[in-house]
Symmetry: C2
Subunit: 585 residues, 2 copies
Amino acid sequence: MQTYRAPLEDFRFVLEVLGYDAIHALPGYEDYDLETVLSLLSQADTFCREVALPLNRVGDKKGVTYDPATCTVTSPPGFRELFRKYVDAGLLSLGHPTEFGGGGAPHAVALFINEMVTATNKSFSMCPGLTQGLIEAITHHGTDDQRSRYLPKLIGGEWTGTMCLTEPQCGTDLGLLTTKAVPDGDRYRLTGTKIWITFGDHDYCDNIVHLVLARLPDAPAGIKGISVFIVPKLLEDGTRNGITCTGLEHKMGIHASPTCVMSLEGAVGELVGEPHRGMKAMFTMMNVARLNVGLEGVALGEIAYQTAVAFAKDRRQGRAMDPEKRERGAAADNILVHPDVRRMLLEVRSTNEAMRSLAVFTAIEIDRAAKHTDPAQRERGEDLAALLTPVVKSFCTERGFLNTSECMQVLGGSGFTADWSIEQYLRDLRIAMIYEGTNHIQALDLVGRKLPADNGRSYKTFAALVRAAIDRNADNTAIADIVTALRDSLATLDQLTQWLGSREVDGEVVGAVSSAYLNVFALTALCHQWVLQTEIASKREGRFYEGKLKSARYFVHHVLPRIESLAKVVRAGKRHIMAMSADEF
Amino acid sequence: MQTYRAPLEDFRFVLEVLGYDAIHALPGYEDYDLETVLSLLSQADTFCREVALPLNRVGDKKGVTYDPATCTVTSPPGFRELFRKYVDAGLLSLGHPTEFGGGGAPHAVALFINEMVTATNKSFSMCPGLTQGLIEAITHHGTDDQRSRYLPKLIGGEWTGTMCLTEPQCGTDLGLLTTKAVPDGDRYRLTGTKIWITFGDHDYCDNIVHLVLARLPDAPAGIKGISVFIVPKLLEDGTRNGITCTGLEHKMGIHASPTCVMSLEGAVGELVGEPHRGMKAMFTMMNVARLNVGLEGVALGEIAYQTAVAFAKDRRQGRAMDPEKRERGAAADNILVHPDVRRMLLEVRSTNEAMRSLAVFTAIEIDRAAKHTDPAQRERGEDLAALLTPVVKSFCTERGFLNTSECMQVLGGSGFTADWSIEQYLRDLRIAMIYEGTNHIQALDLVGRKLPADNGRSYKTFAALVRAAIDRNADNTAIADIVTALRDSLATLDQLTQWLGSREVDGEVVGAVSSAYLNVFALTALCHQWVLQTEIASKREGRFYEGKLKSARYFVHHVLPRIESLAKVVRAGKRHIMAMSADEF
């Protein structure tokens, strides 16, 4: 049984709490007032439930297939049509520039669309996801000519995009990359092997545009000698370019998403941006992708939660411990009477709602950075988006994985069977902790790059916002416990952040403690979101707002205490991690 | 790539640390001195690596198949032969009574065999696992006649066994069971539907002996009206009995282990034990099974760890942060130089070695209870085994699942592909958190049943042992930090245990906090095992013993701090868990 209904009431509330009005007021976003956005999201919800979701299990069971004779990939039944319908519904183009046929919607709006599509068909969602990333890269780093040749086709869904980074010997360490690009007239010829190329080949449309990292003949060694190229599957005259899918990976999940080995044999490519400066374009693409990957944890956690609640409301097993809560005449009560079933559901809900809020908060900062007329506001937006993106990517994917597993546990044995699909969600989600930079790479990005940048400016901006929320609610007795918890968490985070900037912290210490530190940061950031939400919810009446207060309190008293243990682990430093010699493992 | 080598050196050390000599001295175990045991384990290791492991991936890919025309299950290629070889190697009979053809080995020894078989082929291991449980049940609750008719065939591997508890409407709450047993001469006729019956049908051998829970016509309602019956697939005259497999579940993992729907239509059965007292026999079977299920987390965590280490030693990516650790002339260092790779491996190793130790500790107490001549020692054994079994089952399966996921993370993208099999280990292991009583049921068993029994006698026995280890090492400066950590943990556990027995703790509070409490208990128990191991390791020299000290220190400073957060969550009680009304979820 697969069940999903987008949490539209939560979407509305999050936009309201995070001050979406200010984003709508920015030049370029005037068309997207809150009611228009909610109407769009409601339509997208219907599309996802009625069109994308019914194909999700088919995709998992049938998977993609590869024909070695033709070197082509075939989608599971219905997926080609799904892509067409998705494009026709305007969901691909929504967040892209209007001058190339896009809808021009804010990132914060596109994010909700991504959540819904991912929740209902994660394998499928990866194709438009990568295409979106490619569009961002060409928009920011391409020439006018490249923009005009590629963007309308990509935004219009006539072509799709990929990101070709990884090679057999190089994943996290892109400096080891060996694919070569040799000048040939005004173009280049690329040769090499790329692996783990998502939607490297498929049958959704005829042409695929690959963004390929490679080295020019005069390139410096390492990461500073990487250039980026556009390599289309079909050349302008319609003939096949020398880039071919030579095989598929067999994976734990996302079976309907082809993970391709791509062979380049003198493939024609054109340079994007400056020679040897490819990593810059790649990071543009990856930062947007990383926020969306973080959201995958929210999306699959949400559909798993809804499935677990539906099961729990139907399943009767055992009696309530409190005799007054027992249903008269029934042989057993609904399992929602059992404290541990509630505990599991609240673990998921109290984290997932705050994670969604944090992801939207980050997207709003991206919108602020993109459109605000005040340079100080743009700087704030850039700082916060840069700081929070690795936090969202890492924390939300790991917690989402645990949340989906917790939802499986609510179903007992049924959760392990294919009947309820949670086992598919769990398998599909696991990769999110790995791709787009493993979660530890996110932690290194946070501690090694984002914290020290500009003398710690972005952290100061974040901490000031948190402190403002605390101060604003200093006398708000309705949420005193939540505010106090945030104050304590921020004190811990401040102290650890300061320590990380101290002399005793060398590179190995950063490597040793950054994953735990990221979790302290994330828990504090989620608590901040809960203060923002309950600041408003506490002033309103109705079940939705009461639910917010209850979720927030569960978070504060049952999830947040983890910070203390994590802080202790951060303070333990590297000593016991580096003590073992390599051959002792 | 699948790689496994049983950690025989650790097996030896654990037996030595836990005083196996005293078990070997018990009447009946004289043949199993330490060297004999280690020789047996070494042979079993070879068998598991060379015979069981090569079939593991085949089993996952091909799975079991069901033919609706004949209502029979067919195993993946090679599994039938594997079972025969397993029986011929003496691995099935090893731990069973010699009077019925068994090897008479201590439980502690059989446990290691189970770890190795599970690590190398979990799907397969479930068939002998259930057969072992059935043997225990008939040994303890059958008549002499039943023992002589069934035990030699089961111990000899001519027949196998199942446990038929679950029905569509009843899983955790067995009181809802409706399968009927009607007297028919000196036998009974059983009618009903059972689900999730592991190895309910297969082709390893001709006959299958089902242990079936059912109600007699005069049975009281609920859990006190359940009787247990032996229902063989083939009757004594060789004809088919009325118990049939009518379908298989499609599951996330353990694809080579058939999970059957069994239909009983007037099937002939014989009563085991007294009418309406079936739960007692069932618990005998389940307690042994629960310890072995806990061990599944250790087994798959171990093979995943070995796989991750093999990958990490081969993979080069990035440079060591400390320039002195960089390999000269190489473009990249082995990933073991990276602190976070070490952190992940140490998370797994420092918990898994202690979990194995705790499981063996429990098995040794079972042996003490079974064979000791001193009633006080038998009581101690019974108390500790009863107390620790739910801790091992719950903690080791959950932590094993997380550990296997952590090992996948070490491999990055490769871990998500089928190439390295960790994704299979993760899928195969997830069910262990659910079956044989979900992990929360274990927590309720611990807090609601085991702690209060006999005025808290078993907890007092456990705490006294822990305190003795602390006192014995009060002046042992070599492990002062480990001993201090155990003292602090025990103080927390003592305090929470006392609170659980207080008046303010009602049934709902128990339900709300018992899962977190179990984790506090488990972490303390693991720390106790580390003190026992390092008490000896600190007095010896050599890499193995140094590794023990380093693992223990990682555990104490990086894993154990979790206790503080968990204690805070326990103290938060039920308030925020019970606050939400059912329709607010």
